[in-house]
């Protein structure tokens, strides 16, 4: 769940107020949005991705609010990391150069599980793939 707004980084652009699909933030007269409806946070990380100032931190548990130490977060390397990994913090091509591998890697994972299962159940009937699980 959203855990912290770094007020000193926030520019008051309210992009998070708009971008949050579940209406968690409210704008304030002081400029720094507040977490007004934490119970509606679905931990989708979209606010971090859309924050141009890297002023937000979403904690990893989606069910329970977690207390965080803002100073420790700043040295953890995680603040702004998600936006950087998406490449949204810079105008550089090639951010999706590996994306084509998603399908093959999903299937490779599924085949690994299928081979492992077959090795364990050599005497069984072959695996029923009639309702093949699509991923």
């Amino acid at each position: 769940m959203i855990a912290h707004v770094f007020a000193d980084r926030c520019t008051g652009c309210n992009d998070c107020v708009s971008a949050c699909p579940t209406h968690v933030f409210d704008p304030t007269p002081g400029g720094v949005p507040v977490i007004a409806r934490l119970d509606q946070c679905q931990t989708c990380f979209m606010c971090e991705l859309y924050c141009p100032a890297d002023a937000l931190y979403v904690a990893p548990d989606q069910r329970t609010p977690e207390p965080v130490d803002p100073e420790a977060l700043l040295t953890s390397g995680q603040v702004g990391k998600l936006r950087h990994d998406y490449g949204w913090d810079r105008d550089a091509p090639g951010q999706l150069a590996e994306f084509w591998r998603l399908g093959p890697l999903l299937h490779e994972g599924a085949e690994i599980a299928a081979r492992r299962h077959a090795a364990r159940h050599r005497d069984d009937a072959p695996l029923d793939r009639s309702s093949e699980h699509e991923i």
């Binding site: 708009s18 579940t22 990893p60 995680q78 994972g109 009639s130």
Partner: protein
Amino acid sequence: MAGSGVTAEADVLIIGGGMAATWAAISAAREGAEVLLVDKGFVGTSGVTATGGPNHWWVAPEPGLRDAAVEARYARSYGLADREWMARIIDTTWRTLPELAGYYPFDTDGRGGIYYSGLRGPEYLRALRRYALATGVDIRDHHPALELLLHPDGSVAGAAGYARLTRTNWSIRAASVVLATGGCAFRSGLIGSDTNTGDGYLMATEAGAVLSGMEFSTAYSLSPAWNSTRTLPYPSARFFDADGNEIDVPPPLSGAAHNRALASAMLAGPVLADLGDAPALLKQILPRIQPASPTPFKRKGIDLFADRFEVKLYGEGTIRGTGGLRIIDEDCQTDVPGLFAAGDAATRELIAGATSGGGAQNSAWALTSGLAAGVGAAATARHRGRRADGPARPVGGAGLRPTSLVRPIDERALVKEVQDQAIAYDKVLWRSDAALTASQTLLDQLWREIAAHRQADGLDQVGAREVAAMTATARWCTAAALARTESRGMHLRDDFPDLDPAQEHRLLVGGLDRVWTRPDIAVDTRPRMEAVA
């Protein structure tokens, strides 16, 4: 709904903000219609695609390839799909995705070409937003729709809702309306699905529409117990109980057997996943493909590929499940004149039958049904005009207009009860007459409670309608599951474990105060006649 607040007019009103909604808006605008799109959240982050990375059914127009792809999928549809629709979504998807080139940074396919078929969610929805804006679509974020408006002749006249950032009611008149509100995952926690509460099913049913395939609502996705992510890291997982004993789980390719084995173990105690067997390349480049998937692990101090962590199955309801509004023509019109449905709001049986269809087929469906609904909605606007001056009646009921004395409802407890019927493993993966009947009785009580006593104003209307929609959706899923006295595709009855050839037809469900089901016999005949011919 109290007061009318802001009013507006358009040729076509689109409700929703994901793939199907934006494609519908773009298509209607390209047909020359003035298009207004209202979304509950933000077009770009709303819905299950925004956090995902959908592949699309992608088959080149080469001799034999497409027919073979259709036949292979049709053979797995348990007789309920439609070959013409399947061929159509392949062709439309193939021709359409490259259009996004100005808005989406397509990159290599690893073989010297361009990879068009798979798009990363945040960039895809950002591209669709930009494309829609460039096409002239008027986008209103944070404008959840609450109810539809009808003309005296029963055709759709627009919708009313609440603008939650400005805290005002809105009312929009339009010649036609497209519902692309997504499916319903019953707030299971499935990534990106909290906005998907079945709102469109409820609004359309109140207006006279009918649903189909709601029994095919048994899909689940595996994720950490504390955070639902996309599933790319997990297909190779081994599973262990709390004592470190390995659990013998059939692989993901075995479908229901995989979920049943995992669910059985989870009902007995914590289940831990071990990703040590994951593909070596995945371990290296996961953050470059899906940056959000490793993030919660990093932040929790868990080494995704070395440490064991607790997992659970997140209910997908009708998201990866298949049911939705019945489609009566090639424009994706519902049973309500002028009201169209697209994406997960519509039944996907046309292309997936009794199965999920999987991500690739479902994305192609969202795109194609969106485009089709946009064309149909624009044509309706041309032929009928806006008729915005005549009277229109708001038809929303439960949560807005109580039929009895207003009194408080413990909504948190109510939602938990709905979830216990609609996504609890034992109720969904081992359906039986006794359990379904008990669920139906309970859900009917919950529905009566909301319909009779719940009244919301202001921002509270949004949540009240979501709860009403989830409760209604659970009733339709349960009624359809009860009526289909066989096991077919993802619908598994413990008391009827076999396929019944006499039930090779779609099943319609509808109604509010009284839920009904009946076979959709008309669609049953064509495949059989073709087989005979």
